[in-house]
């Protein structure tokens, strides 16, 4: 047991020695793995940010019902009751033409244009919010309302939401695909690095086996090396993505100001970052495992 601990320590020290003997090469390896991992990590960050941004937009389909100017008060009241009675409808909100103009005025750049208008061109409207996932119901309601007297125009706002959802799910699958692909690439890099490392140390391995080294003894330093490579590459990726995020946020906040929105990318929570690091180490370990299984047994003393 004591011997085992001693050898674990020895293996770790070996990794240190190996790093010191070729620091440039080891750093290069780290950076490359970092870049490769930064790609899906960055994309994941982007998608999850867009997602949280999109979730602040109502995902329930909305219908704007514009009334004909000067419609009779009774017609309007009847309409409201009718809208409230429709299946799936969550809420019905009246937006007066004055309120609409005021809100439009608050949009940057619009105030000046609006001040040139002689009178308010906007009609009164009802904003009808339906329950989640009732896009079909929204479209049915749209066609139902189209002929009704007092209604000038009906507009369904769900298309946008659906489009963003579609984009997000596309982004998510892209992240998954990319992650899978680049995880594979990372495994491949470690595989190859360890393969060459093994070939380089062929003689040492051969002699060790002759002397009575167990397979576990011979393998151990490679596993340390592979795991450390993966983890340090992961650390490098976190750093790269963090840097990119800081740079991007600087530009985004300026851009967002233009629209009066707060645009800021959030970084990974610490727990997720730790998980990511563990995952990177695991990938390095897997690459090492495959490489060691394939190449180490080929080296037999003769």
């Amino acid at each position: 047991m004591n011997a085992l601990i001693r050898h674990h320590l020895h293996s770790l020290r070996q990794s240190g020695v190996r790093f010191a003997s070729a620091p440039f090469a080891a750093l290069a390896n780290m950076v490359v793995i970092g870049v490769v991992l930064a790609l899906p990590l960055g994309m994941y960050l982007l998608v999850s940010n867009v997602q949280s941004l999109a979730s602040s937009i109502p995902t329930e389909p909305q219908i704007s019902v514009f009334l004909t100017p000067g419609a009779a008060k009774t017609d309007v009241a009847a309409l409201e009751n009718r809208l409230r009675a429709v299946e799936h409808v969550r809420s019905v909100r009246f937006v007066s033409r004055e309120a609409a103009l005021a809100s439009l005025k608050r949009s940057p750049g619009m105030a000046d244009v609006i001040s040139t208008l002689r009178e308010n061109p906007l009609p009164d409207a009802y904003v009808v919010t339906l329950g989640e996932g009732s896009a079909a119901a929204a479209e049915r309601l749209e066609s139902e309302l189209k002929g009704v007297p007092g209604i000038a125009h009906v507009q369904v706002d769900s298309a946008w939401v659906r489009r963003i959802d579609a984009l997000l799910s596309l982004g998510r699958s892209a992240v998954i695909l990319l992650s899978a692909l680049l995880s594979l690439a990372l495994v491949a890099v470690t595989f190859n690095t360890i393969r060459l490392q093994i070939l380089t140390q062929r003689e040492e391995i051969e002699v060790s086996k002759l002397i009575g080294a167990t397979d576990a003894y011979v393998r151990r330093p490679f596993f340390y090396w592979g795991g450390l490579l993966g983890a340090s590459g992961g650390l490098c990726a976190l750093l790269l993505v963090f840097l990119a995020q800081v740079l991007l946020n600087r530009n985004l906040s300026e851009f967002g100001n233009l629209y009066g929105v707060e645009l800021r990318l959030q970084f990974l929570p610490v727990a997720d970052a730790a998980l990511f690091l563990a995952f990177a180490a695991l990938l390095g370990w897997v690459g090492t495992y495959l490489s060691v299984s394939r190449h180490l047994s080929k080296i037999q003393p003769r």
């Binding site: 004591n2 011997a3 020895h10 002759l210 002397i211 009575g212 397979d215």
Partner: protein, 225 residues
């Protein structure tokens, strides 16, 4: 000293290429014996020696080492078998990327000895073969004969019960060869079983112990002891 520590029973070895390097070998070595294995080039001396630490596996027959059957030994058991053996190879298998000291300490690292104990034993072994003053040198800097002695130091550092050497005096002149043989004999005197392959006629003529002669893969045992 009358217990068989190595025994070959009807052992044959045919290499994948199709050559039968050993045919139906039968012989035993008692614990504490000193045995010379002789024979022409290609007679099968190296092959026979390689069967004992399971570097090569027999095609048929059984081999017992320390009462354990090598033929049925699994891959996991092999390292532990080898730890009891001191091996000196025909092609020395030194590592030229580290010092003389680090070459000799290797068996100690493999078995996980403490650092202090390892260092002590490595120094003792190097002293025994007369290389203590060169422990920091790279093996490249040693002459052929010095490298040969380095190999012996590595083989004895772990205090093996059996010492197996393949042509340990090949690149040595007669005086050095005698010195090396004297060294082996001194190990033998403290109880180590010694098995040496050689084609050096002088060595064979001078040596009192048992000589096993191989010819085209067959044993011509003539116990001189």
């Amino acid at each position: 000293m009358a217990q068989p520590i190595i025994s070959f029973n009807n052992v044959s070895k045919r290499y994948p290429g199709g050559r039968e390097a050993l045919s139906n070998i039968n012989f035993t070595v008692e614990a504490g014996e000193f045995v010379l294995l002789t024979g022409h080039s290609g007679a099968g001396k190296s092959t026979l020696l390689k069967l004992i630490p399971a570097i090569e596996r027999a095609s048929s027959g059984t081999i017992l080492v320390n009462g354990q059957s090598i033929s049925t030994l699994s891959g996991r058991g092999i390292p532990y078998l080898r730890r009891n053996l001191g091996l000196v190879f025909q092609d020395q298998k030194l590592l030229f990327d580290r010092s003389v000291f680090d070459n000799v300490i290797l068996p100690m690292l493999v078995t996980g000895q403490s650092h202090a104990e390892s260092t002590r034993r490595v120094r003792a072994a190097l002293d025994k073969v007369g290389l203590l003053d060169r422990e920091r040198a790279n093996p490249v800097a040693l002459s052929g004969g010095e490298q040969q002695r380095l190999c012996i130091a590595r083989a004895i550092v772990n205090r093996p019960t059996i010492l197996i050497a393949d042509e340990p005096t090949a690149s040595l002149d007669d005086e050095y060869a005698d010195a090396i043989m004297e060294m082996f004999r001194s190990f033998n005197q403290v109880g180590v079983t010694v098995l040496i392959a050689t084609h050096d006629r002088d060595l064979i003529a001078h040596s009192s112990p048992r000589v096993v002669h191989l010819q085209r893969g067959r044993v011509l045992d003539k116990a001189t002891a």
